[in-house]
């Protein structure tokens, strides 16, 4: 009975049910030509609307006015639709489309994913949820303009000395003056990119932990780097990020439902797009 638990089926069933209900309701209303019924419900709506605007209920006279206006609106509406005035009106068309799409949007709010649904979604969208790799590292900067042709030699010497000192090196007097900190703790790769640029970030990613390494370049110059700790990005468990997965799952289902809606609607239509004789449309690069 796996099919019964398939959310898309829920969408379709619910959708069908609502469309049927709506079309029945509206047929019921429209199907009696020559009669306009102002129902109790309509009257209540008129009163509520008035009260919200004016902060008091309408007087009897005002309610009569509202009712007359409603009847006029209804008869004008019927005539206008009969005359096809809605067809070439951008605003009406857009509103109707919005309403239709809202209906399918609403549906997805009522379908509750099971944990199994979410787990499956999580597994198939790993990139959406994976945490970023973070680095705890230290860096010493060499300014190429201060070293000229000796840059490589100086870098190698610095590295050799650092190797001997290891992690405990006192860095405060090493390298060249630099406005960025020498030590960073648990900084994500995207933050590294923001601070040092892409080049340095990919260099840092390639550095092995636990030893000084030279030759990491940035837009500023070169850096000798010591990665103290590297925490790989990981996929959190569903319980850690349940709400976020659910949000994205619903977004995805909404998209699917809208696509499905149009597929269904377009069944039975052939689409023919007339081509202009000469292609004069500017190519946008």
């Amino acid at each position: 009975m796996k099919l019964l638990r398939e959310p898309l089926l829920h969408f379709l069933l619910l959708g069908a049910a609502i469309f049927v209900t709506f079309s029945l309701l509206s047929r019921h209303k429209v199907d009696k030509p020559g009669e306009i019924v102002v129902t109790q419900g309509t009257l209540e709506n008129l009163v509520t609307g008035f009260t919200r605007t004016w902060q008091r209920p309408p007087t009897q006279e005002e309610l009569r006015g509202l009712t007359t206006d409603y009847v006029r609106e209804e008869v004008a509406y019927r005539r206008a639709v009969a005359m096809g005035l809605d067809r070439d009106d951008t605003i009406v068309r857009r509103r109707l489309r919005q309403k239709l799409e809202f209906l399918s949007d609403d549906l997805s709010d009522r379908v509750m994913p099971t944990d199994a649904d979410l787990q499956g979604f999580l597994q198939s969208h790993v990139d959406n949820f994976k945490t970023e790799t973070t680095f705890t590292f230290r860096q010493i900067y060499l300014n190429p303009q201060l070293h000229g042709t000796n840059l490589h030699r100086d870098e190698t010497r610095l590295l050799a000395d650092l190797h001997r000192a290891g992690r405990q090196s006192d860095l405060t007097s090493l390298g060249d003056p630099f406005l960025l900190p020498q030590s960073f703790q648990d900084i994500s790769l995207s933050e590294v990119k923001k601070v040092f640029g892409d080049q340095f970030a990919s260099g840092l990613s390639a550095v092995a932990s636990g030893r000084w390494q030279a030759g990491v370049a940035s837009g500023y110059g070169v850096h000798v780097v010591y990665v103290v700790q590297r925490n790989e990005g990981r996929l959190p468990s569903l319980t850690e990020i349940h709400d976020e997965v659910r949000r994205q799952w619903l977004d995805a289902k909404r998209g699917e439902a809208t696509d499905k809606l149009y597929q269904t609607l377009l069944k039975g239509y052939t689409i023919r797009i007339e081509q202009p004789e000469e292609k004069k449309v500017a190519q946008v690069r």
Partner: protein, 644 residues
């Protein structure tokens, strides 16, 4: 651990040669005491301990509009606050013109600051809200927009707003459901996007005082979250609930803080379009000289100023600073905001940051308080939902000026007085904030202490400290900030009580944008008030790239050169420096005179956005269009006030 010590000594020796200082004697090892002097204090085991000062600059935009601003919407913007925050975080979005767009690098923070007047008005017009459609004016605008005349509708809406002729029946005002709904949505977008430590989404809005077309706009920024911000609705300029007078805005701010226990700040912008009203000596609302109450409240409420943005740069004007060859930068000085009144030269003094800082000293002498003691930031003021102002990724002031072959050559604004062409839009700027953390509270507090600076787009790092005891060695330390905070005050700070026969010293440093152009020079701009009550300014070239020699007569450092290849929209970093550092002492200090000092950092010349457009679209720009420029940063000043 003898081996370690030996290594350290070796390192010290080795690095002394690196640092261009005299070579120290070779082995054998110096005695223990000497070692102690080289390593005066063993640093804590954890290199992260004992750091209480801001180590990082956070980048952001305090001034971005979405379709919730009625002019933005009318000009074609369809993006909502939620989209704006996603874009700032580095996500790719579809711009209103249908093109895909993404930032080269994410920002660290963003304020969506939509106009409080008519908040959410445009979505009502666009969606054909029944009330709007029932009104002849509303219906007309809706039909104009629907039939593709959005730009004409926008101008009509803005003009009608300026004249106060928008129909009361359709205009959302505080207290109505549509207004509250829009505010709730703005707050929700910020709450959803805010990720303390990673990305800060401030709640904010823009108060748009524009009487007579004169720009007195202020952006309001909340330190607080939804629980406090939703206790109020944005302050508007429309009477009776609102006002166009900044004094009333300040009262509203005080009332908010009183009511909620929260905090807000206000950031003014575009003095260049205020026609002499942004930094007044005579208040335009009363015709009287500003008083102590005005000065006190403004100094308290408006601690930073947005000095550069798409509608021009507002640091200095060549008319006011004829000796400043860099003052003529991205100038917008044809008139007020809607070009209904032409600019007159006598207005300029009350529009530009540098002259306001100078007048502030004068007013402080008279009133006892300096109303114009502000720090400086840049922001975009884009009306596209896109904080995209890199020269090679510039998405324009409004959605109608998103990239297209003719956006530069179309008039941006045209009246009988003047025309502003599309190419005059300035791809600028961002705010750099020295903050201890990327949170609403930490960034807000950094803004309040003015530890901020403006750039015209590039993310260069700039440090600026003032004190009495900086010496040349402080510029040679590996982390200049340690000396900076230990011996002085950072940008935005104050110096007073000059020690006998001492002049103030400044430690200044700049590091280029990691993916940007090299630096040309660092300048310190000093302004002061003399004994006769007159103000002056002087620009000092403090440190520059290469071997250039200052001119013997003017003292000015010659131009850095130019590597820009305009047809290919490229440049090379073969000139300029990646980093500049220097300790500078004021050579003409008089301890009895009030003064301010701020830093201007200049990049080497790079292609302007118009060059990137010309290359991409394969078009020829008219000869008057500038194709390159020197981008820059302006720091908040450090003030010197004589002791009492």
């Amino acid at each position: 651990m003898p081996p370690l010590k030996t290594t350290r000594i070796a390192l010290v020796l080795f690095l002394s040669t690196l640092g261009n200082s005299p070579v120290v004697a070779q082995e054998p090892s110096p005695p223990e005491q000497q070692l102690e002097s080289v390593f005066p204090k063993k640093p804590p085991y954890s290199p992260y301990a004992n750091r209480h000062f801001p180590e990082r600059v956070y980048w952001g935009d305090t001034h971005l509009h979405t379709s919730f601003s009625m002019d933005a919407g009318a000009f074609g913007c369809r993006l909502v606050p939620r989209d704006a925050y996603l874009f700032a975080k580095g996500k790719e979005v579809t711009a209103s013109s249908g093109q895909q767009v993404r930032l080269a690098r994410p920002l660290d923070f963003l304020v969506v600051a939509d106009h409080s007047d008519g908040f959410g008005f445009f979505p009502l017009i666009f969606n054909g809200d029944p009330k709007v459609m029932a009104d002849p004016q509303g219906r007309r605008w809706n039909e104009m927009i629907m039939s593709g005349q959005g730009a004409a509708a926008a101008i009509d809406i803005i003009t009608s707003f300026g004249k106060g002729t928008i129909s009361k029946a359709i205009f959302p005002v505080p207290g109505t459901a549509s207004y509250q709904g829009a505010w709730e949505e703005v707050i929700k977008a910020a709450e959803d996007a805010n990720e303390p430590g990673r990305f800060t989404a401030f709640i904010g809005f823009e108060w748009t005082s524009n009487t007579g077309g004169n720009n007195l706009h202020r952006n309001i920024l909340f330190r607080d979250n939804a629980s406090k911000a939703s206790m109020v609705e944005p302050y508007t300029t429309q009477k009776p609930s609102g006002s166009d007078n900044p004094r009333d805005l300040w009262k509203w701010m005080a009332a908010y803080e009183e009511k909620t226990g929260g905090q807000v700040l206000a950031i003014a912008h575009n003095g260049n379009l205020s026609n002499g009203r942004m930094f007044p000596i005579i208040e335009s609302f009363t015709g009287k000289p500003i008083d102590r109450e005005y000065a006190e409240t403004r100094a308290q409420r408006e601690r930073i100023y947005e000095v550069t943005q798409i509608k021009g740069d507002g640091e200095a004007h060549p008319f006011l600073s004829p000796n400043d060859e860099f003052a003529n930068y991205e100038r917008w000085d044809k008139g007020n905001l809607d070009l209904t009144v032409k600019k007159k030269p006598e207005m300029l003094e009350f529009e530009y940051a540098r002259s306001a800082l100078r007048n502030g000293l004068k007013l402080e002498q008279e009133l006892g308080v300096n109303p114009y003691k502000f720090g400086m930031i840049g922001s975009t003021d884009a009306h596209t939902g896109l904080a995209a102002i890199d020269e090679d990724n510039f998405w324009g002031k409004v959605s109608a000026s998103e990239p297209s072959p003719d956006r530069a050559t179309h008039a941006f604004l045209k009246t009988e007085n003047a025309t502003i062409m599309g190419w005059e839009q300035t791809a600028s700027g961002y705010a750099g904030v020295w903050s201890t953390d990327n949170t609403r509270e930490a960034l807000f507090d950094a803004m309040q202490r003015k530890e901020v600076y403006a750039t015209t787009g590039p993310r260069m790092i700039v440090r600026f400290f003032g004190g009495w005891n900086f010496d040349a060695n402080d510029a040679n330390t590996r982390n200049p900030a340690v000396a900076g905070y230990a011996k002085g005050v950072p940008m935005g700070g104050d110096l007073s009580n000059a020690p006998a026969s001492k002049s103030p010293t400044f430690l200044v440093a700049a590091l280029k944008d990691p993916i940007g152009a090299n630096l040309d020079r660092i300048q310190i701009i000093k302004g002061w008030l003399d004994a006769k009550g007159e103000t002056h300014e002087q620009i000092y070239d403090v440190v520059w790239s290469g071997e250039r020699k200052p001119d013997s007569k003017t003292g000015k450092v010659p131009q850095v050169g130019d590597t820009v290849d305009v047809p290919n929209a490229t440049y090379t970093n073969t000139i300029g420096s990646s980093e500049l550092i220097k300790v500078w002492k004021d050579p003409q200090f008089d301890p009895s005179q009030r003064a301010f000092y701020y830093v201007r950092v200049l990049e080497i010349p790079t292609p302007r956005w118009t060059a990137y457009d010309a290359k991409y679209f394969g078009i020829q720009m008219p000869p008057e269009v500038p194709m390159k420029g020197q981008e820059r940063a302006y720091t908040s000043p450090i003030w010197y006030t004589p002791g009492k």
